[in-house]
C-alpha cells in the first residue's frame, strides 16, 4: 500500500528585501570629497596686451606715408576719452568722453563698434592711463575695447603667421598700453 505522503504545502512567506545602500553611501561620500577638493569655483581668464617695443635698430630710411586712423583711449580716474586722428593731413582729430561706469562703458563699446565698422582695417587701439587709475577699472576698459559679444558684428583679422584674413573673435585684437615708455 502506497502511502501517499501528504505533501506539505509550503507556505509562501513574504519577507521584506532590504537594499544595502551602505556601499552606495561610501562611494558617494568618497566621490564628493574628491570633487569638492578639486572643484574650481573661480574661473580664471586672460586679457592679452602689448607694450611699445624698444629697438636699438635705426629706423628705415624710406617710410611711405600712409593715411591711417589712430585710435587712442585715455583713462582718467572717473572718465575715459576716445581720441581718433589720422596719421597724415587732414588729421581731423575727434574726441569723445565717456564716464567710467558700466553704462558709460556700454556706450563706449558701441562707439568702438561703429568705428570698427567704418574703418575695418584699423585693428589696434593704444591705451593711456593716469597713474592713479586702479587695475580693476583698467580691466573694465580693456574688456570694453577688446571683447566682442556673440551677437555683435564679426571683423576679420590677419593671421600672424600666414598673413591670411580670418574671422576674428575680438573687437580690437591689438591693444597697446602706450603709457609704458622710458
Amino acid at each position: 500500500m502506497a502511502h501517499h505522503r501528504r505533501k506539505k504545502r509550503r507556505k509562501l512567506v513574504y519577507r521584506d528585501i532590504e537594499l544595502n545602500i551602505m556601499p552606495f553611501v561610501d562611494v558617494f561620500s568618497m566621490l564628493n570629497t574628491f570633487l569638492l577638493f578639486s572643484a574650481v569655483f573661480i574661473s580664471i581668464g586672460m586679457i592679452e596686451v602689448q607694450i611699445p617695443f624698444l629697438s636699438n635698430a635705426p629706423p628705415p630710411k624710406k617710410v611711405e606715408k600712409t593715411r591711417d586712423l589712430d585710435i587712442k583711449v585715455n583713462i582718467a580716474a572717473d572718465k575715459v576719452e576716445i581720441l581718433t586722428s589720422w596719421t597724415a593731413a587732414p588729421v581731423d582729430e575727434k574726441r569723445e568722453n565717456f564716464p567710467l561706469t558700466e553704462a558709460g562703458m556700454a556706450d563706449m563699446h558701441n562707439k568702438l563698434i561703429a568705428l570698427r565698422r567704418q574703418y575695418e582695417d584699423t585693428d589696434k587701439v593704444t591705451v593711456f592711463s593716469d597713474d592713479d587709475v586702479i587695475y580693476e577699472k583698467l580691466a573694465l576698459v580693456l574688456d570694453t575695447v577688446k571683447l566682442r559679444k556673440d551677437n555683435e558684428p564679426q571683423f576679420s583679422e590677419k593671421d600672424i603667421i600666414t598673413g591670411e584674413k580670418r574671422p576674428g573673435i575680438f573687437l580690437y585684437p591689438k591693444v597697446v598700453i602706450g603709457s609704458v615708455l622710458l
Partner: protein, 163 residues
C-alpha cells in the same frame, strides 16, 4: 517581565534618503563643473583678481604675481610693496630693478635654450601677470617698464572670468 526603560527590541533606524538626495545633487553639480584642463593654478591668497567678461582661458602659469605687499616672479619673491608702490631702494628710472634683474635672467635662460635647440631666434614669450585689483596703474607701469627693458613686450593679464 518587562525590560528597563520601556519597550524592548525596538531599534532606531537612520533615514538615509535625505542624505542620498543631497549627495546625488551635489555630485551632479560637481561632475558638471569638474574640469580636466591641465592648467591648474592656485591664486595667491593676497591677490584678488579684477573681474572680466573675457572668454580667453588661462593657458600659462603666472610669471609675475603682484600681491598686496610683495612681488613674485616664478614664485620667487623679488620685491616688497609699500603703500601701493615699490620701495624707493628698488626703484630705478621708473622701473623696479629686482624685477628687471629677474626677468633678464629668464630672458637669458630662454635664449640659451633656443640656441641649444638650434631653432630659429624667437622673441621672448608673453609674461602672465597676476595682480591684485586694488593696485594702481602706477605700479603696473613700473613692472611693465622693467619687463620692457628686459625685452618682454607681451602680457597676459589674469582676471577672474565670469562663469
Amino acid at each position: 517581565m518587562s525590560g528597563v526603560g520601556g519597550d524592548s527590541n525596538e531599534g532606531i533606524s537612520l533615514n538615509l534618503n535625505p542624505m542620498l538626495d543631497v549627495f546625488s545633487i551635489l555630485i551632479t553639480f560637481l561632475l558638471m563643473s569638474f574640469s580636466t584642463d591641465p592648467v591648474n593654478h592656485d591664486i595667491n591668497k593676497d591677490v584678488t583678481l579684477p573681474e572680466s567678461k573675457t572668454f580667453v582661458a588661462l593657458d600659462e602659469v603666472p610669471t609675475i604675481t603682484v600681491s598686496k605687499t610683495e612681488i613674485y616672479i616664478n614664485e620667487r619673491k623679488v620685491a616688497n610693496i609699500v603703500q601701493g608702490d615699490a620701495e624707493e631702494k628698488d626703484r630705478s628710472q621708473g622701473a623696479i630693478f629686482p624685477v628687471f634683474q629677474e626677468l633678464t635672467k629668464l630672458a637669458d635662460a630662454s635664449k640659451k635654450s633656443m640656441t641649444a635647440s638650434g631653432g630659429p631666434k624667437k622673441k621672448n614669450p608673453p609674461i602672465t601677470m597676476e595682480m591684485d585689483k586694488d593696485h594702481r596703474f602706477k605700479l603696473m607701469k613700473r613692472i611693465m617698464l622693467s619687463a620692457q627693458q628686459a625685452e618682454f613686450v607681451s602680457f597676459k593679464l589674469m582676471v577672474s572670468k565670469e562663469m
